[in-house]
């Protein structure tokens, strides 16, 4: 969190984490296209030629002033592929909240778990754990065949009982609800800290 008193701004950083091809960039693209341009900046994407996220995607959102302060939300995605480990560590610096975008398909569970373990390790390196950090789980791609039931996804991934949102990010289903839930988690955590 960065509070700039002179400009009366409070900046919060939310990172979309999860395995490659899980739908993190799709979440940001939907938010970008759905929101009024006066409420958001440009969507910056650093992609490979194969349209995969190379470094990060970035989108800034603003909402109206609250109690005199202007909240700004800086949304980042991480590159999901295993070999971009260092990029993920960099992007997590100063993070206030996390959306973990899990792929609901049965054959993607190993990738979900690997990415979640990678997230936990990176949080530990920053002095946090999944237990004491505000994060939410998005079960994406609920429209595809061979998805696991939510109860099984919960049993495998949600061992801390964090909020869960079912989503089809390509159609915008659950995307804004996920973001709103994550923002509430961050604000709740800030309230506890101060």
């Amino acid at each position: 969190m960065f509070v700039n008193w002179a400009l009366q701004e409070v900046n919060l950083k939310i990172v979309y984490y999860g395995p490659g091809l899980g739908g993190k960039t799709t979440n940001l693209e939907y938010i970008y296209h759905k929101l009024d341009p006066s409420l958001r900046g440009d969507l910056i994407t650093l992609k490979t030629r194969e349209e995969r996220t190379l470094y990060f995607d970035f989108l800034q959102l603003e909402v109206g002033r609250i109690k005199g302060m202007k909240p700004k939300f800086n949304l980042y995605t991480i590159p999901g592929q295993v070999y971009y480990a260092y990029s993920r560590r960099i992007i997590l610096r100063g993070v206030d909240g996390i959306v973990f975008v899990a792929d609901s398909q049965a054959d993607r569970m190993t990738e979900n778990l690997d990415s979640l373990m990678d997230l936990e390790q990176n949080l530990i390196d920053n002095g946090f754990t999944l237990q004491n950090f505000p994060w939410v789980l998005q079960y994406n791609k609920r429209d595809l065949p061979r998805v696991l039931p939510v109860s099984e996804l919960n049993a495998r991934l949600n061992f801390h009982g964090v909020p869960v949102i079912e989503a089809v990010a390509s159609r915008g289903i659950g995307v804004l609800e996920t973001l709103k839930t994550a923002i509430h988690g961050v604000v709740g955590k800030v309230q506890k800290v101060i």
Binding site: G41, L46, F58, K67, N74, S87, I183, H184
Partner: protein
Amino acid sequence: MLQLAEKSTEQFMLSTETFNLVNEILRELVTSTRSDFALFCDSNGNPITHHGKQHVVNLSGLSALAAGNFAATSEMARVVGEKEGFKFIFQEGERRNLFLCNVGFNFLLAVIFDKMVALGLVRIFANKAVESLKQVLDKAAKAEEKASDFIDSEFGLLLGKELDKSFNL
């Protein structure tokens, strides 16, 4: 006491007084070098303040990219055995150049200048600005204002309403 430019923490509060001093340093830097623009941001990618022709850039975008670029460059320095990191990043364009350097551990300074302005000049004045910025940040007392003045349960409630309005939920 840990100093603002160096301490590692997830929360920063910048007072109005410090902000004004930083602004003055940026103004001097831009004037002395006849640069187009100077941006001061944190190493997490949050823009803090700037001076110059604002229309030149998207502030939040430049800050996010500067932070990412500097972090990647620092890692490149480590990979090639440069323990203290590289001192600055310089990008040469057809019309404009970009100079980027760190201010302590937590902040970055970016200068955008016309190709007619000598890099050496920008480098000298940017180094001077970095020293001044470090002094200002090190002296910065904890901001008088507190986050608890505004982030309370009412803030959370009002934020929820604003988000509903923005998202048309």
